[in-house]
Amino acid sequence: MSTGALIFMLSGWVFVLGLTCWSFARLMKAPPQDEHLPPPGSIP
């Protein structure tokens, strides 16, 4: 595999994986009161 291709591939992977990790890390930091339970009776 050429160096250019390797750099391009790693840049792409870092971009999508970085975006995924960053967004999930921010979501997980949401205060617990932001989590809500389904309304009573909505689960059979």
Partner: protein, 531 residues
Amino acid sequence: MSDVAAQPREQWGSRIGLILAMAGNAVGLGNFLRFPRQVVDNGGGTFMIPYFIAFLLVGIPLMWIEWGVGRHGGQYGEGSVPGMLDRLWRHPVAKYLGVLGIFMPVVILIYYCYIESWTLAWTFFSITGATRGLDQEGMRQFLGSYQDLQNGTVHGVWVPFVFFFVTIAVNFWVVSRGLTAGIERLAKIGMPILFLFAALLVVRVLTLPAHAAPDGSMSGPWDGLDFMYTPEWSALAKPSVWLAAAGQIFFTLSVGMGTLQAYASYLRKHDDIALSGVATAATNETAEVVLGGSLAIPAIVTFFGVTGAVAIAKGGSYDLGFVAMPLVFNQLPGGALVQTLAGVMWFGLLFFAGITSSVAMATPALSFMEEQFGWTRKRGALILGALAMALGMLHIVYYTGGFLEEWDYWAGTFGLVVLALVETIVFVWVFGPDNAWRELHQGAQIRIPRVFKFVMTYVTPVFLLVMMIWWFVQDALPVLQYANVPAEQHGTRTFSRLVMLAILVGQLFLIRAAWRRKATTRAASGRREAA
């Protein structure tokens, strides 16, 4: 609002469940079958540059727009696009434009479930070893026989029907259980399994030793990645590569279909959509670029060389997934157990990718019938399931006549761009750029960079308009006129279009009936108040 819509709607049980369901909707067969084929067809690395640019200029903005349209509509009890557009644009035509948001998911759902049933069948065949020992021609015959009921010699005529019925039954059982107990639970189980299977297969593929390709050259998995990430700069001047990349972003994120809006309608007014939209898009891209991109291409290049991989890709996504990949598994070192496991994991991950998307496709129509006509979820699932089963059988019987291709082109390709353009114009231009921007930031956990307001207002609609005009001239007109279609398929294809047209007209009548019903209800309550 109808009586039923006034009742409290279901809500997502947890944010992680919502994100997984949204990502499950986006991660589908296209991530593992269509993406590698597009990469190979469009020059490997050359494709990846416009792909990432389209992700930023079309993918993420459309993701936010659809989440915004959905959550806004949900505040008024509207879980499908006709009602959502009606709330954004108080014009009689708005609801009828929204028909695309229930027409396309229903049409795509029906043929998608048929393809999904192949993955279930091939999982079964991997376990029984039915494809072990077959060469390329034998594998093609095996797939061809499954698709061609009239001339198939390998499978019994009943085999595709059985797998299709099972697939439909599982899908509609899941949706009949509702949002949290059905769709969300499926996503929480299916998505981790999908990622686990894909990750294990990637490790196996990338550690394969180099093999001699049929042309005598030695190639390994890293040669496949080299092909995928070495751009040919001059090819970037070709508009077709840019449009193919934008098209792939479109399909992979499931935008322009009505499903993201339906899921987002179950959010509360102050639930975040800005960060959740990014998380959904990013999860899908990880599944596509990191996992999908590291599976089929490196594996096929290892055993067939780059030239062979390009030739296989020309045969289409199904050849790639159902002919080439089983051939690769047959040659894996480690014996029958490893080969069986690889087959089960590949087709198993395709099945989970498929079902987490197909249950989303059922949601807009079910929400529409629940909210506008007071149907229960179970009743809706039963009736839509029966309709999908009946119409799906037409795909099984007439597959080789091009029946499915027609639906895939008009609803699953061209229609998506039309709906995306319509909703972008309605949300950003008619509702207003400032209102749209405020709507996206309601309860937002991140501040969307201001440049995206400009992108959503000008760049995304122009991109979509160019894409629609290009596709119309390049593809839609020739497809409409049956160019390059054998004469013996014309009858089946015309029948296929008429069935689609009947579904569209039927849904337009349902919208008309629903709004008349609303008007009657409003008038009656007005009279009661006056009395």
